[in-house]
Symmetry: C2
Subunit: 242 residues, 2 copies
Protein backbone atom coordinates (compact mmCIF):
# COMPACT_ATOMS: atom_id res chain seq x y z
CA UNK A 1 0.00 0.00 0.00
CA UNK A 2 1.09 3.55 -0.69
CA UNK A 3 0.19 4.67 2.76
CA UNK A 4 1.82 1.92 4.72
CA UNK A 5 4.30 2.64 7.42
CA UNK A 6 7.85 1.74 6.49
CA UNK A 7 8.41 -1.92 7.17
CA UNK A 8 11.53 -3.47 8.55
CA UNK A 9 11.82 -6.65 6.61
CA UNK A 10 9.38 -8.44 8.92
CA UNK A 11 6.80 -10.75 7.53
CA UNK A 12 4.01 -8.52 8.68
CA UNK A 13 1.28 -9.97 10.82
CA UNK A 14 -2.33 -9.40 9.76
CA UNK A 15 -4.53 -6.90 11.56
CA UNK A 16 -6.97 -9.38 13.13
CA UNK A 17 -4.17 -11.73 14.13
CA UNK A 18 -2.31 -8.84 15.69
CA UNK A 19 -5.31 -7.84 17.78
CA UNK A 20 -5.71 -11.40 19.05
CA UNK A 21 -2.07 -11.97 19.91
CA UNK A 22 -0.78 -8.74 21.42
CA UNK A 23 -0.20 -9.35 25.07
CA UNK A 24 1.71 -7.68 27.85
CA UNK A 25 5.44 -8.33 27.41
CA UNK A 26 7.41 -7.75 30.60
CA UNK A 27 10.77 -9.39 29.86
CA UNK A 28 13.07 -7.77 27.34
CA UNK A 29 16.39 -8.59 25.78
CA UNK A 30 19.21 -6.06 25.92
CA UNK A 31 18.56 -5.04 22.32
CA UNK A 32 18.26 -1.30 21.86
CA UNK A 33 15.01 0.08 20.50
CA UNK A 34 16.11 2.03 17.45
CA UNK A 35 15.05 5.48 16.27
CA UNK A 36 13.23 3.85 13.40
CA UNK A 37 11.29 1.56 15.70
CA UNK A 38 10.35 4.45 17.97
CA UNK A 39 9.14 6.43 14.99
CA UNK A 40 7.04 3.50 13.82
CA UNK A 41 5.26 2.94 17.11
CA UNK A 42 4.77 6.65 17.79
CA UNK A 43 3.47 7.28 14.29
CA UNK A 44 0.94 4.47 14.70
CA UNK A 45 -0.04 5.80 18.12
CA UNK A 46 -0.75 9.24 16.73
CA UNK A 47 -3.11 7.82 14.06
CA UNK A 48 -5.61 7.01 16.81
CA UNK A 49 -8.86 8.91 17.17
CA UNK A 50 -9.37 11.63 19.80
CA UNK A 51 -12.28 13.85 20.76
CA UNK A 52 -13.02 16.29 17.90
CA UNK A 53 -9.70 15.11 16.46
CA UNK A 54 -7.96 17.53 18.81
CA UNK A 55 -4.85 15.33 18.91
CA UNK A 56 -3.95 16.36 22.44
CA UNK A 57 -2.09 13.14 23.24
CA UNK A 58 1.62 13.49 23.85
CA UNK A 59 4.36 10.93 24.51
CA UNK A 60 7.37 11.49 26.73
CA UNK A 61 10.03 9.00 25.66
CA UNK A 62 12.60 7.90 28.24
CA UNK A 63 15.42 6.13 26.49
CA UNK A 64 18.10 4.31 28.42
CA UNK A 65 20.42 7.28 28.88
CA UNK A 66 21.70 9.61 31.57
CA UNK A 67 19.06 12.27 30.92
CA UNK A 68 16.31 9.80 31.76
CA UNK A 69 17.95 8.19 34.73
CA UNK A 70 16.29 10.16 37.54
CA UNK A 71 12.83 9.60 36.02
CA UNK A 72 13.54 5.91 35.46
CA UNK A 73 14.64 5.49 39.06
CA UNK A 74 11.54 7.22 40.35
CA UNK A 75 9.34 5.00 38.19
CA UNK A 76 11.17 1.92 39.45
CA UNK A 77 10.32 3.05 43.00
CA UNK A 78 6.70 3.39 41.96
CA UNK A 79 6.79 -0.06 40.40
CA UNK A 80 8.19 -1.59 43.59
CA UNK A 81 5.48 0.06 45.67
CA UNK A 82 2.65 -1.04 43.39
CA UNK A 83 3.88 -4.59 43.07
CA UNK A 84 4.61 -4.80 46.80
CA UNK A 85 1.05 -3.81 47.64
CA UNK A 86 -0.44 -6.08 44.99
CA UNK A 87 1.65 -9.04 46.05
CA UNK A 88 0.15 -8.85 49.50
CA UNK A 89 -3.40 -7.92 48.51
CA UNK A 90 -3.68 -10.64 45.88
CA UNK A 91 -1.69 -13.15 47.94
CA UNK A 92 1.07 -13.62 45.40
CA UNK A 93 3.50 -13.92 48.30
CA UNK A 94 2.00 -17.26 49.27
CA UNK A 95 2.43 -18.93 45.91
CA UNK A 96 4.48 -22.04 45.72
CA UNK A 97 5.29 -24.54 43.07
CA UNK A 98 2.98 -27.47 42.49
CA UNK A 99 3.83 -30.97 43.68
CA UNK A 100 5.29 -31.85 40.32
CA UNK A 101 7.76 -29.01 40.78
CA UNK A 102 6.26 -26.95 37.94
CA UNK A 103 5.35 -23.37 38.69
CA UNK A 104 1.63 -22.60 38.97
CA UNK A 105 0.23 -19.81 36.78
CA UNK A 106 0.22 -17.58 39.83
CA UNK A 107 3.82 -18.38 40.75
CA UNK A 108 4.86 -17.78 37.14
CA UNK A 109 3.13 -14.42 37.14
CA UNK A 110 4.77 -13.54 40.45
CA UNK A 111 8.20 -14.42 39.07
CA UNK A 112 7.55 -12.35 35.95
CA UNK A 113 6.45 -9.38 38.01
CA UNK A 114 9.46 -9.63 40.35
CA UNK A 115 11.74 -9.62 37.33
CA UNK A 116 9.81 -6.77 35.72
CA UNK A 117 9.95 -4.57 38.79
CA UNK A 118 13.59 -5.37 39.58
CA UNK A 119 14.57 -4.36 36.05
CA UNK A 120 12.13 -1.51 35.59
CA UNK A 121 14.72 1.27 35.59
CA UNK A 122 16.62 -0.55 32.85
CA UNK A 123 13.71 -1.18 30.46
CA UNK A 124 14.90 -0.52 26.89
CA UNK A 125 12.34 2.29 26.53
CA UNK A 126 9.80 3.81 28.89
CA UNK A 127 7.02 5.91 27.37
CA UNK A 128 4.72 8.18 29.34
CA UNK A 129 1.56 8.89 27.34
CA UNK A 130 -0.11 12.13 28.39
CA UNK A 131 -3.26 14.05 27.52
CA UNK A 132 -3.37 17.84 27.45
CA UNK A 133 -6.75 18.67 28.95
CA UNK A 134 -8.67 21.35 27.09
CA UNK A 135 -11.38 21.43 29.78
CA UNK A 136 -11.95 20.15 33.31
CA UNK A 137 -11.45 16.41 33.74
CA UNK A 138 -14.34 14.21 32.60
CA UNK A 139 -14.87 10.47 33.07
CA UNK A 140 -14.65 9.93 29.30
CA UNK A 141 -11.51 11.98 28.57
CA UNK A 142 -9.49 8.75 28.34
CA UNK A 143 -11.15 8.22 24.93
CA UNK A 144 -8.66 10.80 23.64
CA UNK A 145 -5.48 9.05 24.79
CA UNK A 146 -5.94 5.31 25.42
CA UNK A 147 -6.78 4.45 21.81
CA UNK A 148 -3.35 5.91 20.98
CA UNK A 149 -1.78 3.86 23.77
CA UNK A 150 -3.33 0.70 22.33
CA UNK A 151 -2.15 1.59 18.82
CA UNK A 152 1.36 1.95 20.23
CA UNK A 153 1.26 -1.52 21.79
CA UNK A 154 -0.13 -3.03 18.58
CA UNK A 155 2.51 -1.34 16.43
CA UNK A 156 5.19 -2.67 18.75
CA UNK A 157 3.79 -6.16 18.16
CA UNK A 158 3.86 -5.55 14.40
CA UNK A 159 7.57 -4.75 14.34
CA UNK A 160 8.76 -7.46 16.68
CA UNK A 161 8.74 -5.48 19.91
CA UNK A 162 6.52 -5.92 22.93
CA UNK A 163 5.26 -3.66 25.66
CA UNK A 164 3.25 -3.38 28.82
CA UNK A 165 0.70 -0.82 29.93
CA UNK A 166 1.05 0.06 33.61
CA UNK A 167 0.28 2.73 36.16
CA UNK A 168 3.66 2.50 37.91
CA UNK A 169 3.91 6.30 38.04
CA UNK A 170 0.99 6.64 40.44
CA UNK A 171 2.91 6.33 43.75
CA UNK A 172 5.54 8.83 42.56
CA UNK A 173 3.42 11.03 40.34
CA UNK A 174 3.93 14.34 42.14
CA UNK A 175 7.74 14.04 42.10
CA UNK A 176 7.77 12.79 38.53
CA UNK A 177 5.65 15.70 37.31
CA UNK A 178 8.00 18.13 38.93
CA UNK A 179 11.08 16.36 37.60
CA UNK A 180 9.77 16.27 34.02
CA UNK A 181 7.99 19.62 34.06
CA UNK A 182 4.60 18.14 33.22
CA UNK A 183 2.05 20.98 33.41
CA UNK A 184 -0.82 20.74 35.90
CA UNK A 185 -3.50 20.53 33.23
CA UNK A 186 -1.89 17.47 31.65
CA UNK A 187 -3.13 13.97 32.50
CA UNK A 188 -0.26 11.54 32.95
CA UNK A 189 -2.19 8.64 31.49
CA UNK A 190 0.09 5.63 31.92
CA UNK A 191 3.60 4.26 32.11
CA UNK A 192 4.53 1.95 29.25
CA UNK A 193 7.64 -0.16 28.87
CA UNK A 194 8.83 -1.35 25.50
CA UNK A 195 11.55 -3.61 24.21
CA UNK A 196 12.45 -6.70 22.28
CA UNK A 197 10.61 -9.61 23.90
CA UNK A 198 12.35 -12.47 25.60
CA UNK A 199 10.02 -15.23 24.60
CA UNK A 200 7.13 -14.73 22.27
CA UNK A 201 3.68 -13.32 21.79
CA UNK A 202 0.76 -15.68 21.52
CA UNK A 203 -2.99 -15.89 21.76
CA UNK A 204 -4.45 -13.63 24.40
CA UNK A 205 -6.80 -15.47 26.72
CA UNK A 206 -9.87 -13.94 28.30
CA UNK A 207 -13.17 -15.05 29.78
CA UNK A 208 -15.71 -16.38 27.29
CA UNK A 209 -17.10 -13.65 25.05
CA UNK A 210 -20.54 -14.14 26.58
CA UNK A 211 -19.24 -12.40 29.73
CA UNK A 212 -18.65 -9.20 27.84
CA UNK A 213 -21.59 -8.79 25.51
CA UNK A 214 -25.15 -7.69 26.21
CA UNK A 215 -27.89 -7.00 23.68
CA UNK A 216 -30.44 -4.18 23.82
CA UNK A 217 -30.22 -3.87 27.60
CA UNK A 218 -27.69 -4.25 30.40
CA UNK A 219 -27.22 -7.87 31.44
CA UNK A 220 -29.15 -9.45 28.56
CA UNK A 221 -27.04 -12.12 26.85
CA UNK A 222 -27.61 -12.50 23.14
CA UNK A 223 -27.91 -15.98 21.64
CA UNK A 224 -25.49 -15.24 18.80
CA UNK A 225 -22.35 -14.67 20.87
CA UNK A 226 -19.70 -17.28 20.17
CA UNK A 227 -15.95 -17.50 20.63
CA UNK A 228 -13.93 -18.66 17.62
CA UNK A 229 -13.41 -22.45 17.53
CA UNK A 230 -10.45 -23.53 19.64
CA UNK A 231 -10.45 -20.47 21.90
CA UNK A 232 -9.06 -21.16 25.36
CA UNK A 233 -10.14 -19.11 28.31
CA UNK A 234 -8.84 -17.61 31.49
CA UNK A 235 -10.43 -16.01 34.51
CA UNK A 236 -10.51 -12.29 35.13
CA UNK A 237 -7.97 -10.62 37.40
CA UNK A 238 -4.88 -12.09 39.01
CA UNK A 239 -4.52 -15.89 38.90
CA UNK A 240 -6.01 -17.57 41.97
CA UNK A 241 -4.36 -20.99 41.81
CA UNK A 242 -1.31 -21.22 44.00
CA UNK B 1 -1.76 -18.91 12.35
CA UNK B 2 -3.51 -21.32 14.65
CA UNK B 3 -4.77 -18.58 16.86
CA UNK B 4 -6.15 -16.27 14.23
CA UNK B 5 -9.71 -15.08 14.31
CA UNK B 6 -11.90 -16.65 11.68
CA UNK B 7 -11.49 -14.72 8.45
CA UNK B 8 -14.21 -13.91 5.99
CA UNK B 9 -12.52 -14.34 2.69
CA UNK B 10 -11.02 -10.87 2.84
CA UNK B 11 -7.49 -10.24 1.75
CA UNK B 12 -6.45 -9.31 5.23
CA UNK B 13 -4.76 -5.99 5.79
CA UNK B 14 -1.50 -5.94 7.71
CA UNK B 15 -1.34 -4.74 11.29
CA UNK B 16 0.72 -1.58 10.68
CA UNK B 17 -1.29 -0.67 7.61
CA UNK B 18 -4.48 -1.15 9.58
CA UNK B 19 -3.31 1.19 12.33
CA UNK B 20 -2.41 3.87 9.79
CA UNK B 21 -5.65 3.66 7.79
CA UNK B 22 -8.47 3.19 10.29
CA UNK B 23 -10.44 6.36 10.37
CA UNK B 24 -13.86 7.42 11.56
CA UNK B 25 -16.52 6.12 9.17
CA UNK B 26 -19.81 7.96 9.49
CA UNK B 27 -21.71 6.94 6.36
CA UNK B 28 -22.94 3.37 6.05
CA UNK B 29 -24.67 1.31 3.41
CA UNK B 30 -27.88 -0.52 4.31
CA UNK B 31 -25.98 -3.80 4.62
CA UNK B 32 -26.72 -5.63 7.83
CA UNK B 33 -23.85 -6.33 10.22
CA UNK B 34 -23.95 -10.08 10.63
CA UNK B 35 -23.66 -12.18 13.78
CA UNK B 36 -20.28 -13.36 12.57
CA UNK B 37 -19.03 -9.82 12.06
CA UNK B 38 -20.25 -8.79 15.50
CA UNK B 39 -18.49 -11.76 17.06
CA UNK B 40 -15.28 -10.86 15.25
CA UNK B 41 -15.18 -7.26 16.40
CA UNK B 42 -16.28 -8.06 19.96
CA UNK B 43 -13.77 -10.87 20.26
CA UNK B 44 -10.98 -8.55 19.15
CA UNK B 45 -12.21 -5.86 21.56
CA UNK B 46 -12.07 -8.25 24.49
CA UNK B 47 -8.43 -9.18 23.76
CA UNK B 48 -7.40 -5.68 24.87
CA UNK B 49 -5.50 -5.11 28.11
CA UNK B 50 -7.19 -3.85 31.26
CA UNK B 51 -5.97 -3.01 34.76
CA UNK B 52 -4.80 -6.21 36.51
CA UNK B 53 -6.48 -8.04 33.60
CA UNK B 54 -9.79 -7.58 35.42
CA UNK B 55 -11.69 -7.59 32.10
CA UNK B 56 -14.40 -5.29 33.39
CA UNK B 57 -15.27 -3.88 29.97
CA UNK B 58 -18.75 -4.70 28.69
CA UNK B 59 -20.47 -3.97 25.37
CA UNK B 60 -24.17 -3.28 24.96
CA UNK B 61 -25.05 -4.01 21.35
CA UNK B 62 -28.01 -2.20 19.83
CA UNK B 63 -28.95 -3.86 16.58
CA UNK B 64 -31.47 -2.32 14.23
CA UNK B 65 -34.55 -3.90 15.79
CA UNK B 66 -37.61 -2.98 17.81
CA UNK B 67 -35.99 -3.80 21.16
CA UNK B 68 -33.32 -1.17 20.54
CA UNK B 69 -35.56 1.50 19.09
CA UNK B 70 -36.13 3.61 22.22
CA UNK B 71 -32.39 3.66 23.00
CA UNK B 72 -31.53 4.48 19.40
CA UNK B 73 -33.98 7.37 19.37
CA UNK B 74 -32.59 8.74 22.61
CA UNK B 75 -29.06 8.53 21.23
CA UNK B 76 -30.16 10.29 18.05
CA UNK B 77 -31.50 13.11 20.24
CA UNK B 78 -28.14 13.24 21.99
CA UNK B 79 -26.37 13.34 18.64
CA UNK B 80 -28.52 16.24 17.44
CA UNK B 81 -27.79 18.19 20.61
CA UNK B 82 -24.05 17.62 20.46
CA UNK B 83 -23.76 18.44 16.78
CA UNK B 84 -26.06 21.44 17.14
CA UNK B 85 -23.83 22.90 19.84
CA UNK B 86 -20.62 22.05 17.98
CA UNK B 87 -21.88 23.51 14.72
CA UNK B 88 -22.33 26.87 16.40
CA UNK B 89 -19.23 26.77 18.64
CA UNK B 90 -16.89 25.74 15.83
CA UNK B 91 -18.67 27.90 13.23
CA UNK B 92 -19.62 25.03 10.96
CA UNK B 93 -22.85 26.83 10.23
CA UNK B 94 -21.01 29.53 8.32
CA UNK B 95 -19.25 27.20 5.92
CA UNK B 96 -19.84 27.71 2.24
CA UNK B 97 -18.45 26.19 -0.87
CA UNK B 98 -15.32 27.64 -2.41
CA UNK B 99 -15.42 29.83 -5.49
CA UNK B 100 -14.77 26.86 -7.72
CA UNK B 101 -17.94 25.27 -6.39
CA UNK B 102 -16.07 22.49 -4.60
CA UNK B 103 -16.84 21.97 -0.94
CA UNK B 104 -14.17 23.07 1.51
CA UNK B 105 -12.90 20.51 4.05
CA UNK B 106 -15.04 22.21 6.66
CA UNK B 107 -18.17 22.15 4.51
CA UNK B 108 -17.54 18.49 3.68
CA UNK B 109 -17.20 17.65 7.37
CA UNK B 110 -20.38 19.59 8.12
CA UNK B 111 -22.27 17.67 5.43
CA UNK B 112 -20.95 14.37 6.77
CA UNK B 113 -21.97 15.25 10.31
CA UNK B 114 -25.44 16.37 9.23
CA UNK B 115 -25.93 13.08 7.45
CA UNK B 116 -24.51 11.14 10.40
CA UNK B 117 -26.76 12.80 12.95
CA UNK B 118 -29.86 12.63 10.74
CA UNK B 119 -29.33 8.89 10.30
CA UNK B 120 -28.04 8.11 13.77
CA UNK B 121 -31.06 6.13 14.93
CA UNK B 122 -30.76 3.93 11.84
CA UNK B 123 -27.04 3.09 12.11
CA UNK B 124 -26.55 -0.61 11.27
CA UNK B 125 -25.20 -1.25 14.77
CA UNK B 126 -24.70 0.95 17.81
CA UNK B 127 -22.39 -0.32 20.53
CA UNK B 128 -22.14 1.16 24.01
CA UNK B 129 -18.82 0.19 25.61
CA UNK B 130 -18.99 0.26 29.40
CA UNK B 131 -16.62 -0.23 32.30
CA UNK B 132 -17.72 -1.83 35.57
CA UNK B 133 -15.90 0.19 38.20
CA UNK B 134 -14.32 -1.86 40.97
CA UNK B 135 -13.36 1.26 42.92
CA UNK B 136 -14.14 4.97 42.95
CA UNK B 137 -13.56 6.73 39.62
CA UNK B 138 -9.94 7.58 38.82
CA UNK B 139 -8.51 9.72 35.99
CA UNK B 140 -6.77 6.65 34.54
CA UNK B 141 -9.65 4.17 34.64
CA UNK B 142 -10.18 4.65 30.91
CA UNK B 143 -7.04 2.52 30.42
CA UNK B 144 -9.31 -0.45 31.14
CA UNK B 145 -11.89 0.22 28.43
CA UNK B 146 -10.61 2.46 25.62
CA UNK B 147 -7.96 0.01 24.42
CA UNK B 148 -10.86 -2.41 23.87
CA UNK B 149 -12.79 0.30 22.05
CA UNK B 150 -9.83 0.89 19.74
CA UNK B 151 -9.44 -2.84 19.12
CA UNK B 152 -13.10 -2.92 18.11
CA UNK B 153 -12.63 -0.13 15.58
CA UNK B 154 -9.51 -1.78 14.18
CA UNK B 155 -11.21 -5.17 13.88
CA UNK B 156 -14.08 -3.51 12.03
CA UNK B 157 -11.53 -2.12 9.58
CA UNK B 158 -10.02 -5.59 9.18
CA UNK B 159 -13.30 -7.17 8.10
CA UNK B 160 -14.50 -4.44 5.79
CA UNK B 161 -16.64 -2.50 8.25
CA UNK B 162 -16.08 0.96 9.64
CA UNK B 163 -17.06 2.76 12.80
CA UNK B 164 -16.97 5.97 14.73
CA UNK B 165 -16.22 6.68 18.37
CA UNK B 166 -18.50 9.34 19.82
CA UNK B 167 -19.94 10.67 23.06
CA UNK B 168 -23.47 11.15 21.69
CA UNK B 169 -24.94 9.62 24.85
CA UNK B 170 -23.77 12.47 27.07
CA UNK B 171 -26.78 14.78 26.70
CA UNK B 172 -29.23 11.90 27.32
CA UNK B 173 -27.14 9.79 29.64
CA UNK B 174 -29.47 9.78 32.66
CA UNK B 175 -32.49 8.65 30.61
CA UNK B 176 -30.44 6.12 28.69
CA UNK B 177 -29.04 4.55 31.85
CA UNK B 178 -32.52 4.17 33.22
CA UNK B 179 -33.86 2.76 29.97
CA UNK B 180 -31.08 0.18 29.64
CA UNK B 181 -30.73 -0.59 33.34
CA UNK B 182 -27.06 0.40 33.46
CA UNK B 183 -25.96 0.20 37.12
CA UNK B 184 -24.70 3.35 38.85
CA UNK B 185 -21.15 2.03 39.29
CA UNK B 186 -20.78 1.42 35.56
CA UNK B 187 -19.03 4.00 33.36
CA UNK B 188 -20.83 4.44 30.05
CA UNK B 189 -17.62 5.03 28.14
CA UNK B 190 -18.71 5.90 24.61
CA UNK B 191 -21.25 5.51 21.85
CA UNK B 192 -19.95 3.73 18.78
CA UNK B 193 -21.65 3.28 15.43
CA UNK B 194 -20.66 0.52 13.05
CA UNK B 195 -21.56 -0.53 9.55
CA UNK B 196 -20.41 -1.18 6.04
CA UNK B 197 -18.71 2.00 4.82
CA UNK B 198 -20.02 4.07 1.98
CA UNK B 199 -16.73 5.13 0.49
CA UNK B 200 -13.43 3.88 1.72
CA UNK B 201 -10.83 3.98 4.41
CA UNK B 202 -7.54 5.67 3.70
CA UNK B 203 -4.50 7.15 5.34
CA UNK B 204 -5.27 8.94 8.57
CA UNK B 205 -3.81 12.43 8.65
CA UNK B 206 -2.53 14.13 11.75
CA UNK B 207 -0.14 16.89 12.71
CA UNK B 208 3.54 16.15 12.17
CA UNK B 209 4.86 13.57 14.61
CA UNK B 210 7.14 16.18 16.17
CA UNK B 211 4.04 17.72 17.79
CA UNK B 212 3.41 14.60 19.79
CA UNK B 213 6.78 13.39 20.97
CA UNK B 214 9.02 14.67 23.73
CA UNK B 215 12.23 13.13 25.00
CA UNK B 216 13.37 12.91 28.64
CA UNK B 217 11.31 15.91 29.70
CA UNK B 218 8.04 17.65 28.84
CA UNK B 219 8.34 19.89 25.79
CA UNK B 220 11.78 18.71 24.65
CA UNK B 221 11.72 17.69 21.00
CA UNK B 222 14.05 14.86 20.07
CA UNK B 223 16.09 15.12 16.89
CA UNK B 224 15.19 11.62 15.71
CA UNK B 225 11.46 12.13 15.22
CA UNK B 226 10.46 11.76 11.59
CA UNK B 227 7.22 11.02 9.76
CA UNK B 228 7.36 8.30 7.10
CA UNK B 229 8.20 9.62 3.62
CA UNK B 230 5.11 10.91 1.81
CA UNK B 231 3.07 11.58 4.94
CA UNK B 232 0.53 14.35 4.53
CA UNK B 233 -0.64 16.36 7.49
CA UNK B 234 -3.68 18.04 8.90
CA UNK B 235 -4.29 20.46 11.71
CA UNK B 236 -5.73 19.46 15.07
CA UNK B 237 -9.40 19.89 15.85
CA UNK B 238 -12.24 20.87 13.54
CA UNK B 239 -11.25 22.23 10.11
CA UNK B 240 -10.91 26.00 10.10
CA UNK B 241 -11.07 26.77 6.38
CA UNK B 242 -14.54 27.74 5.22
Amino acid sequence: MDHALPHSGHQEIGLLDGLATTRAIRRYTDAEVTDEQLNQVLFAASRAPSGSNRQLFRFIVLRDDDASKPARELLAQGARKIWGAKKTADKYDRTSSTESGALSPKARMAATMEHYVDNFAAAPVIILPCLIRHRDPTPTEGASVYPAVQNLLLAARAIGLGGALTSMHLPVEAELRELLGIPDEVLLAATMTLGQPQGSHGPVRRQPLSHFVFESTWGAQPAWVEDPPGTTFTQAGPPTTN
